[in-house]
Symmetry: C2
Subunit: 286 residues, 2 copies
């Protein structure tokens, strides 16, 4: 196969979706990426369905106009509230993180009882409960509105963060006991939360499986692109692929933000796990 | 004096400015109020100067178009980053909370050393340090990005909130010791923070004076309106005024929000200290 390389658009309200891009890079070594963070209008998690749908459709249009042939909606809130609106707004295939997460939970859970940790708006949409329910899973959804600010403060392995997590987990497990749900899988339903994965791992019993929506979205994107015939070669095995070249990764990515590019560069590097050299400003009219 | 009653526009990125409206109501018993919360684009505290200026100017134009003859910018971030932009955008007088806070600190502080607690963007703008510096005050500015999410979670007199406050205060006092500043005044430079006033009062030594920018802004608005001849009668003494009629207060206020009116009604009532019956939706094009 020759011609233009596949270009993938990744969208989030902010930096969190960079954890999804980070998971996509080793799986799709020949693709180019255009990332848009709608930082001037974040967070989406506290906004209404109508507002989120309008913002997300504008963002998807922008990514399509930059040549993206496939879109990953890395923002849980936008996937929960606006996937239909986005799919109507563009002509290319669109993947939302919610479906991807539910699919992985379906594969992981033996007890069929899953705990989803997410933002307020994602929980209130019950999008995870619906997507999991269609696969015969029982879901406890727990809103954790303080986790994003704690992560953005840089308080990762911090006493306050552990205390907040303990409170949220205890409230969720209390709910699970009331409903007689034997939780064996915790799904991190917000792209910021992978940064707390190691802290959570130490707080949860070993037999509980932790899934993060960044990894599960990247896996599903890879499978779906393969199924759509959009990948040029055989399905590479990420685990056995050669060590990545970070400089080459950087050349494959373009970053756009609707607010301060400098802040995006600095904070975003933490989520991407490598330096971001250049961010372009784009005005979506907000 | 007869004719139209004075109509005052109060602007904030969200609900926090309702603490300023709450402080204005008893001081201006004959005025009408139009409140705008730009909830679809909040929080301003993490956004760039250019973005905040554009949003705030649009909001000010809207309030002027609704008949406001005087504007109170209840949002610390907008006052810090965009007061000039707002004053250029409208024809009516504009009061920002920063100047009001600095004036009160000037009156309160004997040691001439003031600690300002505020959001990231307000601190980075150094607007309080400038306004206080012009009055001969030394200022320690401390960013407290977790306080707004904690207050919106409803964790007011809560172990986690006290622990976060203790960390922020210790970091600020450490800075003050290094600079040999004998702090005797703490200025709450964010309209959410008045809800933590009682918690802070118990954590700080008695000799430290706590000023909140809601009260100081309402006081200054009152004096300024009087000086401008915009009040119809003599300067009423708030302390000796008759008990307020909350239903009458409600009739004097109109509320607009750019995002969910229901969420504004429910959360906003907590900040206003009384129920909000009706909120209208307005689209500022964001």
């Amino acid at each position: 196969l020759t011609g233009q390389p596949l270009r993938i658009g990744v969208f989030d309200s902010g930096f969190g979706g960079l954890t999804v891009l980070r998971a996509l890079l080793p799986r799709l070594p020949d693709a180019e990426f255009v990332y848009l963070g709608d930082t001037a209008r974040l967070p989406y998690g506290s906004k209404s369905q109508a507002t989120v749908a309008r913002y997300a459709a504008e963002a998807a249009n922008f990514l399509e106009s930059r040549g993206a042939g496939y879109l990953v909606i890395a923002c849980n809130t936008a996937s929960a509230l606006a996937l239909d609106a986005i799919q109507s707004a563009v002509a290319v295939p669109v993947l939302g993180v919610i479906e991807a997460g539910a699919e992985s939970a379906d594969l992981a859970s033996r007890t069929r009882n899953v705990l989803v940790l997410a933002t307020d708006a994602t929980v209130q949409s019950h999008a995870y409960a619906r997507a999991c329910g269609q696969r015969g899973l029982q879901t406890i959804e727990k809103a954790c509105p303080l986790l994003v600010p704690l992560i953005e403060e840089g308080w990762i392995d911090h006493a306050v963060t552990r205390q907040v997590l303990a409170i949220y987990l205890e409230e969720a497990m209390q709910l699970a006991r009331e409903r007689e749900c034997g939780i064996d899988t915790v799904l991190l339903g917000c792209t910021h939360y992978p940064l707390l994965r190691h802290v959570l791992r130490r707080m949860l019993p070993e037999e509980i499986c932790i899934l993060d929506s960044a990894e599960t979205a990247a896996e599903r994107a890879h499978r779906q692109l393969h199924a759509l015939g959009m990948l040029s070669g055989v399905l590479p095995d990420a685990a056995s692929s050669p060590p990545r070249d970070r400089e080459e990764d950087a050349l494959r990515c373009r970053f756009f933000a609707t607010d301060s590019t400098e802040k995006f560069r600095v904070l975003g590097s933490r989520f991407l796990g490598q330096p971001i050299a250049r961010v372009r400003h784009i005005d979506l009219g907000g």
